[in-house]
Structure formats: structure tokens, C-alpha cells
Amino acid sequence: MKYKDYYDALGVKRDASEAEIKTAYRKLARKYHPDVSREKEAEVHFKEIAEAYQTLKDKEKRAAYDQLGQQQAGQEFKPPPDWQQRYGETNFSFDDLDLADLFAGMRAGRGGGGRAQNMRMAGEDYEVPVEITLAQAFNGTDIELNLSLPEYDQAGRMHRTPHPVKAHIPKGATAGQRLRVPGKGGKGMNGGRDGDLYLDISLRPDPVFRVTGHDLYMDLPLAPWEAALGASVEVPTLGGAVRLKIPAGARAGQQFRLSGKGLPRPRGSVGDLFAIVRIAVPDTLTEQERDLFRRLSEVSTFDARKALQQEGAK
């Protein structure tokens, strides 16, 4: 088991008062709580802070934690031989447990009832972030999660146990959507229901498509002559390439809506794909291209900045 310095996590001294611990927690929770924070790695930070506070705010747990002695953070250690007799109402297998499990186990064993006295307890729910590709969102996909959750064996010893879950994400998922996997969280105790998993879906950034809800946006580069003369161009979509007829006189920023070519929604309808025109010019021109452009500039009466001049004259 690896040692964690809970005092250090909260940024307080080891002899800090309860009030100082609470103040430090509140300040850090406000900064890192994943529901309200925009800080990088907020969830990881908040887990550390919350774990430290859960132990240090409780007099009995804090005393038990202090009795572990101060070690180097991250260092492997085992509680002293008499520690479990003194504090552990639950049996632990220290090798495969986390320090947080140890103190959570203390909580489960207390309160005038406890595990040993057949108190019915629902299993823990877990939130699991799941990143899928756009193609997976479009087609639906099977995912396998390899979680490791604390569980009790038949002898009542708490272990971290592999907890593989295979689930099918149906087509229609998009960023920010939640799916519930009933009964696949922590095991309930003494007849309590098993906890659930909540999958928090995010989409891997795609090099072509930008997503908003179930609609997609993409840049559609057109050569100047394609924009001016009109063209039939091939456009990639998640369901395969389609041909799009560009009318003559297409302007940069103009959007073409490809109805029903976005992401499917969970119950039948489909989002749209918007192709936004960008005018692309060659990085280098051949001599012939240069001549043709020069010739065009000589014969054309088109003034690209006419609107600017009119606005400036007002």
C-alpha cells in the first residue's frame, strides 16, 4: 500500500485544528470541484483533497491515520502490527488496497451496525469517462472497461478486485451525454442493491468534423475558380463521401447544409452536416497559372473591397 500525505494534500500542518482543516478543504474544493472547476486535472486534484478531508475531518480516522506515522508520499508501507486490532473493524488485505479503501472500510464497519451486523448497504456508484470516436458514435460501439473496485471476499476481507464490464454504446451518443449501466458499480452488502456505472461520453477530436450536439461542421476548401464558376465536389461524411453541387458565386463562409448527414440521435432522427466554404489558393503558381491570374486581374472589373470603401465614405 502506498502512503499518501493527507496533511500535505490539504496544505495544512500535522497539528492543524479542525477549523483549519475545514477552511483549507473549502478553499481547495471551491477551486477543484469537478462540477464547477475549469482547472486542469481538476477531478484528480479534487479526489485527493476529498480523500484527505474525509479522513482528517473525522477524529477517529484522523487518530488512526496519525498512528500510521509520517512516511514519504508514494512510499510502500504496511500499517504497524497492532494498528488493525486497534482501528480496523474490517479485515483488510493491505497488499491490494488503497489508503482510501482502508479508511472507507473503517466507515463501513462503524455506526452501531456495520457490515458484520448485517446492515443493508447499496453498492457504490461510479462515474466513468468514456471517449469514443465520431465513427463509433455514428455506428454504435462495444466498449470494455477494466475497473478495479473494492469488494469483500467471503471471509469478509476487503480487496481491490478486477471488475471488467462490456457494454454496447448504441448509435446516437454525443459529447456530454450520460448512459447508466445498472448494477455494474460496487457490490451491495447484505441485500443492498448493487451500485451503477454512469458513463460520461466525450468525443475524440476529429481532424475533419467539428461537433455541436448531433450536428457536424466541416471546412470545404474551394479553388477560386470553383467558387466563381460553380462545381460538383466530393464531400466526406461519416456515412461515406457524397457529391455536393456548388452554385456559381459561392462566397467564403457560406454554409451548405447536408440534411441528415450528421450524427444519429438516440431515437431515430439524424443531425445535419454543415460544409463551410473556404477559398483556397495554391501555395505556388506555375508560370501558366500566374499568367492566367494576371490576365484575369487585367480584364476583371470586380472590386473585392467595394463594401469597405462604401462603409468608409459614410
Binding site: A29, A167, Y217
Partner: protein
């Protein structure tokens, strides 16, 4: 070991659930959910019906509420204001994402 495929359920506006189910799934009590309903955080399907039902999306909000209540020791009034403001923030973020999606690739940093 061959893993069995598990059924998932969408937490969206098309699934409905009772007040009791919402309480069980979220960790909030029925009394707290009723109070947050009065504050307008949750909108029941039929507010006048004797048995309140909610859309499954309310589970997402209620679980957030449960976490915020526990982690910040918020009372229901503070929780209601926080959830309303968070909802507003999420709406604005969605709007920003929508607008940024319309910018040329490489110019958006969200």
C-alpha cells in the same frame, strides 16, 4: 472469461422515472427533490399529478446536486442557485462550442 454485454439506458428526456427512483439513483432524499422542484431545479412531467415523475436527464442534475450538497455542505437554497447558475454556464458553453464549430479549423481553442 467471456464478458456478457450489458444493457445501457440513456439519461435523457425520453425516459421517465418516479420520484422514488430519482431519489434512489441520485442520493438525494425525496424531501430534498421536492424542495428543489419547488425552487424550479427539477420540472416534473405533470406537476399536478399525485405521483411525481421526472425525465431521466434529471438523474444527471440530481447526482450533481448530491455531490455539491455533500462536498460543500450546501443547503437547498444555495444548491438551487448553484444548479441554476451551472445550468446557465452549460448552456453558454454549448453556445460557444456551436459558434466555434463554425470557425475555420485551427482557429478554435475550446
Amino acid at each position: 472469461m467471456k464478458l456478457e454485454l450489458t444493457e445501457l439506458s440513456w439519461l435523457d428526456e425520453h425516459q421517465h422515472l418516479s420520484l422514488t427512483d430519482l431519489a434512489e439513483l441520485s442520493g438525494l432524499s425525496e424531501v430534498e427533490i421536492r424542495e428543489l422542484t419547488e425552487y424550479g431545479v427539477f420540472v416534473p412531467m405533470q406537476p399536478e399529478a399525485p405521483m411525481l415523475t421526472y425525465t431521466a436527464y434529471c438523474v444527471v442534475i440530481a447526482r450533481t446536486a448530491s455531490r455539491l450538497r455533500d462536498d460543500f455542505e450546501l443547503d437547498m437554497g444555495g444548491l438551487a442557485v448553484t444548479l441554476k447558475l451551472l445550468g446557465r454556464v452549460h448552456e453558454l458553453e454549448a453556445r460557444i462550442r456551436e459558434l466555434k464549430a463554425q470557425l475555420p479549423a485551427g482557429t478554435s481553442q475550446l
